[in-house]
């Protein structure tokens, strides 16, 4: 038998609880500090700046209240920017999610060599915005790009993809969908993997068709993953910048001047930081609303395993 230590410290309960609190916060300190400096502080600063006129350096000059917001909603330029943003979201999110879902269903089959296809389908996740945009810029090149070559083989006339205000936004949407597919595909495929195969087997024993089991088994059980992907895609889409900067620079005729590009231009080209901040606050409100709606809707409609 081991001798018992004579001295054993007795710690009052409340002291122990306090030291636990300190320890917990200590581990969180690095993250909290960074969030405070680079997320919460700038968020409030943005709101603050949106209420002032500033000089080119971003120093506040005069308090103008909601003047920036009022001006924005009266300016055709900002309204067309909003319109472009919403249109862009509509172009990219549903199509992107459907494409990724289709590919994930296709790649979820047990076939020889399926790993190769999975790798190919997820490859665009490794593509940077800059590289993708440069490649698509060449694809869209009116004289030597492959887009027009293909169109001509189908007997149509050449198009000015990125230079025509009617097609420019769609032409930016296409590479965006392509770029985002890799990530969405990977997540959806993982979601499909997590569905218990015995559910399909019992479907097979009941003799239901492929399409029926897709509608009644796969999609309901995949709905949490789908909801996640839709939310992420929406938020990403609202935040589009790089493609616009390289492919169109917001043109032609501001038809692709989506909100983040507009913020960037106002802040770092026109040095109108008050207005840029007001737009940033509007973007924040948009994303907040979308996320909250998703959660509300998700709670009701989504099946959890």
């Amino acid at each position: 038998m081991i001798a018992v230590k004579d001295q054993i410290r007795v710690r009052p309960k409340s002291k122990r609880r306090f030291s636990t609190l300190l320890e917990g916060l200590l581990y969180l300190l690095p993250s909290i500090l960074l969030f405070a400096v680079f997320l919460f502080y700038p968020m409030f600063k943005t709101i603050y700046l949106s209420l002032f006129l500033t000089d080119a350096q971003g120093n506040t000059q005069t308090f103008v209240g909601l003047e920036h917001y009022i001006q924005l909603f009266q300016s055709t330029s900002f309204l067309s920017s909003l319109k472009a943003t919403v249109l862009f979201v509509l172009y990219t999110v549903p199509a992107g999610v459907l494409l990724a879902l289709g590919l994930a269903l296709l790649a979820n089959q047990k076939l020889k060599g399926i790993g190769f296809f999975r790798t190919i389908f997820s490859s665009t996740m490794g593509m940077s915005v800059a590289a993708s945009s440069v490649i698509w810029l060449f694809i869209y090149n009116p004289t030597i790009g492959i887009a027009n070559t293909i169109i001509k083989t189908f007997g149509m006339t050449e198009m000015q993809w990125l230079l025509n205000p009617d097609t420019a936004l769609l032409s930016v949407a296409l590479p965006t969908i392509w770029m985002n597919t890799g990530f969405s595909f990977l997540i959806l495929l993982g979601g499909l993997h997590n569905i218990d195969s015995s559910l399909y087997e019992s479907g097979k024993i009941a003799g239901v068709g492929d399409f029926y089991s897709l509608r009644k088994i796969t999609l309901p059980l995949l709905s949490p993953t789908l909801l996640f992907i839709v939310t992420v895609s929406l938020i990403n889409s609202f935040q589009t910048f790089g493609q616009i900067d390289i492919l169109t620079k917001g043109g032609p005729m501001e038809s692709t001047n989506v909100i983040v590009y507009s913020i960037f231009k106002d802040a770092f080209v026109n040095f109108n930081i008050g207005s840029a901040s007001a737009q940033a606050v509007i973007l924040f409100t948009f994303i907040l609303a979308v996320t909250i709606l998703q959660f509300k809707w998700g709670e009701k409609k989504v099946h959890y395993q």
């Binding site: 636990t20 609190l21 320890e23 917990g24 916060l25 200590l26 581990y27 969180l28 993250s31 960074l34 969030f35 680079f38 502080y41 700038p42 968020m43 600063k45 971003g58 289709g102 590919l103 296709l106 076939l111 296809f117 790798t119 997820s122 490859s123 996740m125 490794g126 593509m127 940077s128 800059a130 590289a131 993708s132 440069v134 490649i135 698509w136 810029l137 060449f138 090149n141 004289t143 030597i144 790009g145 392509w178 890799g182 990977l186 495929l189 979601g191 993997h193 997590n194 935040q239 910048f241 790089g242 900067d245 390289i246 983040v260 960037f264 802040a267 770092f268 930081i273 840029a276 924040f284």
Partner: protein, 270 residues
Amino acid sequence: MTMKKKVILYTLLTVSAFLMFFPILYAFLISFMQGGEVLKGRIIPSDFSFTNYSAAMQKVPLLRYLFNSFVVASLIMAGQVIFCCLAAFSFTFIPFKGRNILFLIFISTMMIPWEATMVPNFQTIRSLGLTDTYFGLSVPFFAMAFGTFLLRQQFKTIPHEMYEATQVAGVSRFQFLWKVVLPVSKTTLVTLAIYSFLTAWNMYLWPLLVTNDEQMRTVQIGLKQMQSQEVSTEWGVVMAGAVLVILPTLILLFLGQKRLQEGLTRGAIK
């Protein structure tokens, strides 16, 4: 599975794989072409030469850009993994008061679009004199709610008895994190690391804002610069640059595809 169904599936798979991969393939092919060939709108180069690659290296300091990107992406990766580990550990294994509220606040940061904060962030970095530094390029991204959430999901799968066993043995919390939690969570840590690296490597807007010095540019900005200078004449060179930019991430992705898929799904839905 019937033969007919197999044929249909393979056809669909092949066609969609070709379409998905075509832009990347196209970039590869163009990168080997000489100026004249490009202008004729050809697809297959007549001859695979690396002259475009050496030209790309000479026109802009591409190696320097690659190095910068590598440093920044590695710093962000390390920072995010460390910070997220510490935070997720606290949220899983230290039962302090107010933990749930704090976790909610962490999660809610995912709703703040980074672009909405970029103006003050730029001002902060500039006033600290950190533009054109690795520090300014990387540190603002070290804290990440998604990564914390992903790791917390993983840590929660560790049986609580393991933690209690260390308490009984008198092993400190930090040693429990270091000797038990991290080794057990290796797979998820690798997933997070790959994801962090990819995202950081592909960062575009922030480096555009905080780098002016040619020597500090990341490869994404370098590529954009190259494209705007060379656009009309030397497409082959630009494509060679693009290929050099995407090669590291593509390789990383091909190696880690399976892990990423498993690890990220865990964070997404559970």
